[in-house]
Amino acid sequence: MSEKKPKKVFMRGAIPPDKIAKSIANHQSKTNIGAHSIFLGQIRADKVDGKVVQGIEYSAYEEMAETVFHEIRESAFEQFDMTCCHIYHSLGTVKTGELCLFVFTSSAHRKVAIEACNFLVEEIKARVPVFGKELFEDETHQWKVNQ
């Protein structure tokens, strides 16, 4: 429970795969961990009325969003016996095929890590004031809405 202090979630642009490798490597000294669960959101090239999404431009009500991210982490630590929990979300433009969300949970046992990760993903999608502008190749756009 040593990582409960507020941590910055937002980062500019896409999340590089190397960041995920580094996060994993940073946990190899924590030998009470038996399982990691990771969720990654990737930008899909959805087709809308014949136009293809080229990327999403993310914006947020940043102060509120960081507060909600923190509340969600606290709530996850209360419910699940996690060792660690990390969340990163992009702001600005993320191109199709690139990563916009990285959720990483660790625990002694697999079920805890997996359930905590699922909880975090659902909470993030439902509760965090992040907005996404889907950009088309003809420079038009539409606003994304989470299902």
Binding site: S59, Y61, T67, I124, P129, F131, N146
Partner: protein, 78 residues
């Protein structure tokens, strides 16, 4: 009563601004503020949004000096 209003995403696109400071006079409820904004920015009437007061989606209706009210369109994180 001075307050700050913030607009995000599709709402900011409709209002054309992202933030404004307004003095509401004797207006002191969220519902009244909402009516004022809808009259001022007709385009947001067609959009769905919820309001946060001081970064929280509370359901209370009272407004006080210095509050920050945010118009939030549907969330799209992740």
């Amino acid at each position: 009563m001075p307050i700050t209003i913030k607009y995000f995403g599709a709402i900011a696109e409709a209002t054309g601004i992202t933030e404004e400071k307004v003095d509401l006079g004797d207006v002191d409820s969220i519902e009244q503020l909402k009516s004022i904004c809808l009259a001022k920015y007709e385009a947001i009437g067609d959009l769905s949004f919820q309001l946060a007061v001081n970064q929280s989606l509370s359901s209370k209706d009272a407004l006080k000096d210095g509050d920050e009210v945010a118009f939030l369109p549907p969330f799209a994180g992740g």
